[in-house]
C-alpha cells in the first residue's frame, strides 16, 4: 500500500518535472530550426542565430540591457553590502523600519515600482529642467527618461536582494577571527579588508550575479521607465506582439543559457561559503 502510493507520487513528480522543463526545451529546440516558422521544424541550422546577430535592433537592445544590468548590479552590490554591514549596528525602531523597506522592495510587484518610479522621475525632471534652463541658458542639459532611470529603478530591488544575501552570510560568519584580529592590534580597516571581506566575498559575488540576472531579465520596470529606449526583454515582448519569429527563440536560448550559467555559479559560491562557515564553526 505504501509502495503503491510512493510509486504514484514518484510518477506524478516526474510528470511535473516534464511540465516544468518541456516548454523551455522546446524553445531551445526551435532555435536551431532552419524553417521560417517557429513551430514548423525543417532541419538543424544556426541560421536564426546568424540573422539575430546581424539585426541592428537586437544589438542595440542587447547593448542597452548589458549596460543597464552591469551598472545597476555594481551599484546594487556596493550599496547592498554597505547597508548589510551597517545594519549590524542598528537596533530598535530604525532596524524595524529598514527591515520593512527591504521586505517591501523585494515583495512589491514590479509594476508598482515601475509606476512609482515613472511618476517620480517625470515630476522631478519637470521641476529640474526649467531651473537648469534659468541657470545655464538654453544650452543646459535636459533630463528625460532613459537608461539611467532604468538603472535607478533596478538598483532599488536588486540592492535589497544583495542586502539579504550578504546579511545572512554575516550572521553565519566566524566572529572569533575578527576578535583575534582586533586583539592583535589590527586597525578596523585592516580587520575589515583582511578578515571580514574575504569571508563575505562569495556572498557578495553571488549577490552581484543574481542582481545582474534580475536586471537583465526584467521587462515590466524597464517598460515603464526606459522612455524611447529598448532593452532586450522590451524587444522580445514587442516581437511576440507582432507575431512570433524564430529570432526570439535564438535570443531566448542565449538568455536562458546565461541565466543558468550564472545560477550555477551562485549555487556553487553559496554552498561553498556555507560549507566553509560550518568548518570554521567546528
Amino acid at each position: 500500500m505504501r509502495d503503491k502510493i510512493t510509486t504514484s507520487l514518484r510518477l506524478y513528480s516526474i510528470l511535473i518535472y516534464i511540465f516544468l522543463y518541456f516548454p523551455i526545451a522546446l524553445v531551445v529546440l526551435f532555435s536551431f530550426n532552419s524553417g521560417n516558422y517557429a513551430a514548423d521544424m525543417q532541419g538543424f541550422s544556426f541560421r536564426w542565430y546568424g540573422e539575430t546577430w546581424r539585426d541592428p535592433f537586437v544589438l542595440e537592445a542587447l547593448r542597452n540591457s548589458v549596460f543597464i544590468a552591469a551598472t545597476s548590479a555594481t551599484l546594487a552590490t556596493v550599496f547592498g553590502t554597505f547597508a548589510a554591514l551597517a545594519l549590524q549596528n542598528v537596533r530598535g525602531w530604525l532596524r524595524t523600519l529598514y527591515d520593512g523597506l527591504i521586505y517591501i522592495a523585494i515583495i512589491i510587484p514590479g509594476i508598482v515600482i515601475g509606476i512609482a518610479t515613472l511618476i517620480f522621475f517625470v515630476q522631478f525632471f519637470g521641476w529640474l529642467n526649467p531651473w537648469l534652463q534659468i541657470l545655464f541658458g538654453p544650452s543646459a542639459p535636459k533630463f528625460n527618461l532613459g537608461l539611467p532611470t532604468v538603472i535607478a529603478a533596478h538598483t532599488l530591488f536588486t540592492m535589497s536582494i544583495v542586502l539579504v544575501i550578504v546579511r545572512s552570510r554575516i550572521a553565519g560568519m566566524d566572529r572569533s577571527l575578527i576578535e583575534a584580529s582586533n586583539d592583535l592590534y589590527a586597525t578596523p580597516f585592516n580587520t575589515f579588508w583582511q578578515v571580514t571581506l574575504p569571508q563575505l566575498l562569495p556572498a557578495i559575488m553571488a549577490g552581484f550575479l543574481l542582481a545582474f540576472t534580475f536586471s537583465f531579465d526584467d521587462f515590466i520596470v524597464a517598460f515603464f521607465v526606459a522612455g524611447p529606449n529598448t532593452t532586450l526583454p522590451i524587444y522580445v515582448f514587442s516581437s511576440i506582439r507582432r507575431g512570433v519569429t524564430p529570432k526570439i527563440n535564438a535570443i531566448a536560448t542565449v538568455t536562458l543559457i546565461m541565466s543558468l550559467g550564472f545560477l550555477f555559479i551562485v549555487q556553487y559560491l553559496l554552498t561553498r561559503s556555507n560549507a566553509s562557515a560550518k568548518k570554521d564553526g567546528e
Binding site: S13, P23, A116
Partner: protein
C-alpha cells in the same frame, strides 16, 4: 565624567561609519520607494490635466470612478484565486513526495530543479506557452490526428490559468516543501499506532502542520499575481484584462495619471489586506503550534 566622554567618542566612532555606509541605500529607499508611493497617493486625489498627466486638486472623483473600471479587478481576483488554488493542488503532492519519499541524496538536486526555472526569464517562460498554445501548436497537432478541429487555446481563461500555474508553481512548491520537511515524522507514526487511517492522519496531522508553508506560498503567489501584466497580455491576447494591463494602459497609453494612481492605490490596498491576513494567520498559527508542542 571621563568615562562619559570616552563613551561618547566611541559611539561617534561607531555611528558615523554606520550612517555613511547606510546613506546610499537610504537615499534609494527614500527617493525611489517612499517618495514615489507618497506621490502616487497624492495624485490619486488629483484631477487630469487637459494634455494628460496631473493637475493639482483635492477630489475623490478618481476613486468614485473606480467602479466603472471594476472588470480588471474582478478578472484579476478570480483568476488569481483560481491560479493560486491550482498551484496549491498541483504543488502539494510534489512537495510531499520531495519532503517525505525522495532519497536524501536526490532531494537537494530535485529541489534545485524546481527552483531553477523560477530564476530564468519570466518573459521567455510565458513566451514558450504562446508557441505551444497558438494555432500552429497543440491545436494543429490535435487537428492532424483528427481528434478535435478548430480548437482555440490561446487567448482564453484556460491559457491564463495555465500560464499562472506554470510560472508560479516553484514559488508555491518551495515553502510547502520547507514546512513538510520540518514536520516531525514521529507524529505520523504515532497517529498510525493509535489506529488512525491514512486519510485521518493526513487531515489531522500533515495538513495542519504544513499550513505555514501553504499560507506563505499562497500569499507570495497571490500578491505577485495582483500586479501581473505579461501573462494576460501574451496568453490572454489583451481580451482578458488584469489590473496590471489597466495600469499600463492608463499610465503609458491614455496618460490618465490621477485615475491610474487611484487604481494603483486600490491595488496597494488589496495587497495590504492580503499581508495583514497573512500576518494574522501566521501569528495565530505560531501560537497554536507552540501549544501543541508543549502538550507532547
Amino acid at each position: 565624567m571621563v568615562n562619559n566622554t570616552t563613551h561618547r567618542k566611541k559611539s561617534i566612532r561607531t555611528w558615523l561609519p554606520t550612517a555613511l555606509l547606510l546613506a546610499p541605500a537610504s537615499l534609494w529607499y527614500l527617493f525611489l520607494l517612499i517618495a514615489p508611493l507618497v506621490i502616487v497617493a497624492v495624485f490619486s486625489f488629483g484631477a487630469r490635466a487637459p494634455e494628460g498627466g496631473y493637475a493639482p486638486a483635492f477630489t475623490l472623483e478618481q476613486y468614485l470612478k473606480l467602479p466603472t473600471r471594476s472588470t480588471p479587478f474582478v478578472n484579476t481576483l478570480w483568476l488569481a484565486s483560481l491560479g493560486t488554488v491550482s498551484c496549491i493542488l498541483i504543488a502539494y503532492p510534489l512537495a510531499y513526495y520531495l519532503a517525505t519519499r525522495a532519497s536524501a541524496k536526490a532531494k537537494s538536486i530535485l529541489v534545485a530543479l524546481i527552483i531553477v526555472p523560477f530564476w530564468t526569464s519570466f518573459l521567455i517562460r510565458t513566451y514558450a506557452w504562446v508557441t505551444i498554445l497558438s494555432s500552429r501548436g497543440i491545436p494543429a497537432i490535435l487537428a492532424s490526428l483528427g481528434i478535435v478541429h478548430d480548437l482555440v487555446l490561446l487567448n482564453t481563461p484556460f491559457a491564463i490559468t495555465l500560464g499562472i500555474v506554470y510560472n508560479y508553481l516553484p514559488l508555491m512548491t518551495f515553502p510547502l516543501y520547507v514546512s513538510l520537511e520540518r514536520l516531525d515524522k514521529r507524529l505520523l507514526e504515532a497517529s498510525k499506532d493509535l489506529g488512525a487511517n491514512r486519510l485521518a492522519t493526513f487531515f489531522q496531522i500533515t495538513l495542519p502542520l504544513s499550513a505555514s508553508g501553504l499560507i506563505t506560498g499562497s500569499m507570495l503567489v497571490f500578491i505577485l499575481l495582483m500586479g501581473e501584466y505579461l501573462i494576460p497580455a501574451l496568453l490572454g491576447g489583451g481580451k482578458i484584462f488584469f489590473v496590471g494591463n489597466a495600469l499600463v494602459d492608463l499610465f503609458l497609453q491614455s496618460r490618465n495619471w490621477p485615475f491610474g494612481s487611484a487604481v494603483a492605490m486600490a491595488l496597494n490596498f488589496i495587497m495590504i489586506i492580503i499581508i495583514s491576513v497573512y500576518l494574522w494567520l501566521t501569528s495565530r498559527l505560531g501560537g497554536e503550534s507552540r501549544e501543541e508542542v508543549s502538550l507532547f
